[in-house]
């Protein structure tokens, strides 16, 4: 592609690698709690964006993008050969919770679609549901961090 050089590509790879190294090294001392907080923060940011806009179409787009980004990240992590069986089980439960939220938003899989007037409340529900899911789904710190990294990369 015009304008893209080999050195640009290497720089991008280096930036990503650097990002991964920084997050992993900082979070080594932070532990599971801080890693899970970062993911909760992501859902919370999306909820804030939803409440900041009055347009229901935009609200739905924000929520759908949020669900899709996290779902794609979980798929990537799940497909990695080094992901443990127990983490895979946790990831599947996470996926299931997100998919259920997405179905309800869009009125699929037996759900009636969330009415426009309830989208703000629904965004709060997603945040709270995911915060509660963190208490019942056990995923290792490294896998949690990988989710964060991939979500960040996908969101760019």
């Amino acid at each position: 592609m015009k304008g893209t050089t080999m050195s640009d590509h290497k720089m991008s790879v280096h930036k990503i690698s650097g990002l991964i190294l920084v997050i992993l090294s900082v979070s080594f001392f932070s532990g599971n709690a801080q890693a899970a907080e970062k993911i909760q923060g992501y859902f919370n940011s999306a909820a804030r964006e939803v409440k900041a806009t009055a347009d229901p179409v935009q609200k739905r787009e924000i929520l759908n993008n949020e669900f899709q980004s996290v779902s794609n990240a979980l798929n990537v992590i799940e497909s990695m050969p080094q992901t443990s069986a127990s983490d895979r089980a946790g990831l599947e439960r996470y996926q299931s919770a997100i998919k259920d939220n997405q179905n309800e938003l869009n009125g699929t899989n037996g759900y009636a679609s969330v009415p426009d007037g309830q989208l703000n409340a629904f965004s709060n529900y997603v945040v709270q549901n995911m915060e509660q899911a963190d208490e019942t789904i056990t995923i290792s710190v490294v896998t949690l961090l990988l989710i964060i990294i991939v979500v960040i990369l996908i969101a760019r």
Binding site: A89, Q132, E135
Partner: protein, 395 residues
Amino acid sequence: MQKPCNSIHANVASGSLFIPMPITKCIRGACCVVFALILYPFSSIAPSVNGKALEPAAPIRYSIVSIIHGDGEYAYHDSSGDEHAADEDALLKAKTVATQNPNAEVFIFHEIPQKHFLIFFPLRDGEFYYYRGGRLIDSESYRRYQDSFRFAPEIELYDRFHVEEQGGCVRLFLYFGHEIPEFAGYGYDESHPERIFTVNDLAEGLKHITHDSAKFDLVVLGTCYNGTPRTIESLAPYAQYIVASPENLHLSYFDLSPLEHLETSLQSGGIAAFAKNFAQNAFDKLTKEVETAITVAVYDVDKTKPFLHYARKDYERTMTTLATFTNVQPESIAHCDCAENTAYGFKGMNDGVEIFYRAPQFGRAKSIQNHSGWECWKDKVWQTTNRQLLENAQK
């Protein structure tokens, strides 16, 4: 003739530094002080005021013990999107309760993550506050879990400061944290995942505090999924009434404002009415903030005994099976309303239970309009169909 303290003679020719004796003594003394200051945070017992020497200005009519678990993930976002730490919020509220009750002694134990000085030296991981007559009498940090008995350090602090009660003293115990496991129990403390904490440990703690004599008038469990036959029966010897959440308690949140003026709130109806008012208040506050399910139950321990006796056999059998999955975190195994399982069908199931329930505003469970007040583990059918999932988690 002795040289003055402030003179230092450097013997350049020999390459040695001669320092007069008084200065060496000063330096040694200073080093000892610095060394002691460095080591102080790592010592087990911190000096503290002997609370028993202080006589209360007003008679002690209420005794409140709060344990707030903070060694884990307790971050949450309120409906405005602002981030909070649930354990810090609970600590603030517990301190407010302590200062608002001039006729109470209040013990607050805050269990915090273990940190290290210079990576290798563990710092104290418990914070203790003792209030009497509305005033802070003592606060100190302490080292948790020094013994095989989880709450040994807390009991030692409690015994050191506790005022011998006069007749009619109302005793309250509150615990805030994540779901207290009924089996396994590893990993409850994020700083020490090898440590075990289960409902049995909490019961033992209550036993030591009550000294096998008078029960707590009220025990409040600000945790998820501890409104179960097993948990209530374990704590029954030490409590007259228990407030707990059979399902998920968002933020481990119970509003403590009913505790702020016990002289007023306990005036009419006694402890039974107070427990109900406490649960109702918590439920009302949660319904304003939370879109997920809300269940708050008040258990009159004596009246629940027939159902607890009936449910014991099946519940124990389920737990025995689940306990074989030693590598599975209990919180990852699904819960359900005991009423969903015909094994727990008992005519007097609701005796002694007052339940405040609101269904989640979204999700599949939106249509579930009530709850029995008792939470169980998913039954064998679920376990069988999900055995593969559980076995994978064991590897």
